[in-house]
């Protein structure tokens, strides 16, 4: 990534509006629709200024997620590159059929007559006290559905770079923006700059280490880094990998790391079964068994919905202390 361009500090929330603005400004085929995304600037105030600047290409919709996603698909078939916002990722349940049966399968079912460049943005994740129906890790609902790409940016730079790459991509991409990271800060170029695009399907080694490989995304990536710092004090060198994209998953980067560390800890927000963490552990066990000197581990949320009360939700989410302890256990295995 070039660093010549002058950069500005910006938070995750504003980086969303920035990425959308740059996408709308650099490609007139890009359009954006969702509930209160225009006049109101978004329920999370993450899309402010877009309506004023891009007019009709930014549309407020009724509360009708099935219509929102279906409309995006139809517009994409006609050559546009729609970005649809589903406010909270939990609401993907309401338009699950459109995403899974229409969007993901359209290209295949028609024998490749057309591709469907739809990007769907949604706010996922727990930790902010929104309760069971507004805190889910819906990214795990779509793993078994071929035809979708899924990204989970954990930093300002990845949010900007992946969202813009998603909009440029010819395939459907689900972009999960973690609602508990909206305040995280980072730096972006002052002007639109393609050098800041982050390719889909490429993990990032965010901390090098030699004793254990910790794979974690979004909120858990930050907690894993905190744990890694503590582990250093324990004399354990942890490598932290942020997959950034869940589908297609960059298994090579993880395998390459395991070649050095021989130990794997996957930290996943959300219940363990059927999630990307279990999928990764299974693939490593099946495809790279001989790299492992210890049982691979998955540290995840509990097998319960996300509770509301602070002490319950805090306990539900893996924290740095539990990541540190689990990593230490594995290294001592």
């Amino acid at each position: 990534m070039t660093t010549v361009a002058t950069t500005v500090e910006i938070n995750y929330r504003k980086a969303i509006a920035r990425a959308l603005a740059d996408a709308l400004a650099t490609d007139e085929r890009v359009v954006f629709l969702g509930e209160d995304v225009g006049a109101a600037g978004g329920a999370f105030k993450a899309t402010e200024g877009l309506k004023e600047r891009f007019g009709d290409r930014v549309r407020d919709t009724p509360i009708a997620e099935q219509a929102i996603v279906g409309t995006a698909i139809g517009a994409a078939l006609m050559g546009l590159r729609p970005v649809a916002e589903i406010m909270f990722a939990d609401f993907a349940g309401v338009c699950f059929d459109q995403i899974v049966n229409s969007l993901a399968k359209y290209r295949y079912t028609t024998g490749g007559q057309v591709s469907v460049p739809v990007t769907i943005r949604m706010a996922n994740g727990a930790g902010a006290g929104f309760g069971p129906q507004h805190s889910q890790q819906a990214e795990n609902w779509f793993l078994n559905v071929p035809g979708l790409k899924i990204v989970v940016p954990g930093t300002v730079e990845d949010l900007y770079g992946l969202l813009r790459s998603a909009i440029r991509d010819d395939d459907p991409v689900l972009v999960f923006e973690h609602k508990n990271l909206f305040g995280v800060k980072g730096r972006l170029p002052a002007e639109p700059d393609d050098a800041y695009l982050v390719p889909l399907g490429v993990a990032s080694v965010v901390r090098p280490g030699t004793d254990i490989t910790i794979v974690a995304a979004q909120q858990m990536r930050h907690r894993a880094l905190a744990a890694a710092a503590q582990l250093e004090g324990d004399g354990i060198s942890a490598e932290v990998i942020d997959p950034r994209t869940l589908v297609p998953f960059d298994l090579d980067t993880v395998a390459e790391s395991l070649g050095r560390t021989s130990r794997l800890l996957v930290v996943q927000e959300g219940p363990p079964d059927g999630g990307w963490g279990a999928t990764l552990v299974a693939r490593v066990a099946a495809e790279h068994f001989e790299l492992l000197d210890a049982a691979p581990a998955l540290l995840a949320g509990d097998r319960t919905p996300v509770p509301y009360a602070t002490p319950l939700e805090d306990a539900w989410l893996p924290d740095a202390a539990r990541i540190r302890a689990e990593a230490a256990r594995i290294v001592r295995y």
């Binding site: 509930e35 209160d36 006049a39 109101a40 329920a43 105030k45 407020d60 919709t61 009724p62 509360i63 009708a64 997620e65 099935q66 939990d90 609401f91 349940g93 309401v94 902010a128 006290g129 929104f130 309760g131 069971p132 129906q133 507004h134 509990d302 097998r303 319960t304 919905p305 509770p307 509301y308 009360a309 602070t310 002490p311 319950l312 805090d314 306990a315 539900w316």
Partner: protein
């Protein structure tokens, strides 16, 4: 008549003070997450629930404190849930958007727009099959009238002649969207004929008008004549949620609605029935005190033990 109306006014006061307290807690960051307040809409929940009898049930939205209280849920345990206390209505697992008290027939507050409509239809189906004579009421917003479950549920309930009331709390806005910006025909009762059911618009700030409209619909439902669509015209005096300053309102709109505050209107009724200002003030102050005591009690309760999070997933 006077006594009943006094009782309805007391309930409205309690809900108003309850919501003011919650608002204060949220602005003081005593509670996290999100909350959606009911100030200005009290006459809808209180008026409709006044037409119900024990055994009848309701469902409502994330803006549901008023409805659950109107049905008789205890103030302190409702506060406790919003505070995430172990003794909250839902043991602290649901929070502000999920107040539920089955013991009074409040089947719950739902945070997914439209999700609860078919659930009330199901409660009505059970009543029909079991012959209990119970009626279900589902409260939802004008914006929710545009989502799929509204359509599916109204058609099925009407086809099956289920004893259910569909009560639209039309407060003129979705989150921040004026109804006309999202709804081709903003007269929502115009949809009723398509479902073969009656549709009635009522002044949602006049608790008596609401109660009378609901009574008729309830009678119709109990008689086996099927559902009614009620559109209660009201106004959300505060923003959509904690974080919303509601700048999008046209000038003067809020003021004109504040002049028609449901509590003011009920008090006018009572004065016209000869109730003295002193009695009305006492009623209000008693309600305030009741709510304050409940809030203090709830505040004093312990937080849930982290281990409790593993409970209540399965039977």
């Amino acid at each position: 008549m006077t006594d009943e109306l006094l009782d309805l006014l007391r309930r409205m006061h309690e809900i108003r003070f309850f919501e003011d307290t919650v608002k204060d807690w949220f602005t003081r960051a005593l509670v996290r997450g999100s909350t959606h307040l009911y100030q200005g809409q009290e006459a809808v929940a209180v008026g409709v629930c006044a037409a119900l009898r024990p055994g009848d049930t309701t469902t409502c939205t994330y803006r549901g404190h008023g409805t659950v209280l109107a049905q008789g849920a205890p103030l302190d345990r409702a506060f406790g849930e919003i505070l995430g206390k172990a003794n909250g209505l839902c043991r602290g697992k649901g929070g502000s958007m999920h107040l539920t008290d089955l013991s009074v027939g409040a089947l719950g507050s739902f945070a997914i727009v439209g999700a609860h409509l078919p659930i009330s239809a199901g409660a009505a189906w059970a009543a029909q099959l079991l012959g209990t004579g119970a009626v279900s009421v589902t409260f939802f917003g004008d914006g929710a009238a545009n989502i799929g479950t509204f359509h599916e549920t109204l058609n099925m309930a009407s086809t099956w002649k289920l004893p259910v009331l569909f009560v639209i709390e039309n407060n003129l806005y979705g989150e921040y969207s004026p109804i006309a910006s999202t709804t081709a025909n903003p007269v929502l009762i115009d949809r009723a004929p398509g479902y073969g059911m009656p549709g009635v618009r009522v002044d949602g700030n006049d608790v008596i008008a609401v109660r009378d409209t609901a009574r008729e619909a309830v009678a119709r439902a109990r008689a086996g004549a099927g559902p009614t669509l009620i559109e209660a015209m009201t106004y959300r005096q505060l923003g959509h949620s904690r974080s919303d300053p509601a700048k999008y309102r046209p000038a003067g709109e809020l003021e004109s609605w504040l002049a028609r505050d449901p509590i003011t209107i009920a008090e006018q009724w009572l004065r016209s029935l000869g109730v003295s200002d002193a009695d009305l003030d006492k009623l209000r102050d008693d309600a305030a005190a009741t709510v304050r005591d409940a809030a203090d009690r709830a505040m004093s309760w312990p937080d849930p033990d982290p281990a409790e999070r593993f409970e209540d997933v399965l039977a």
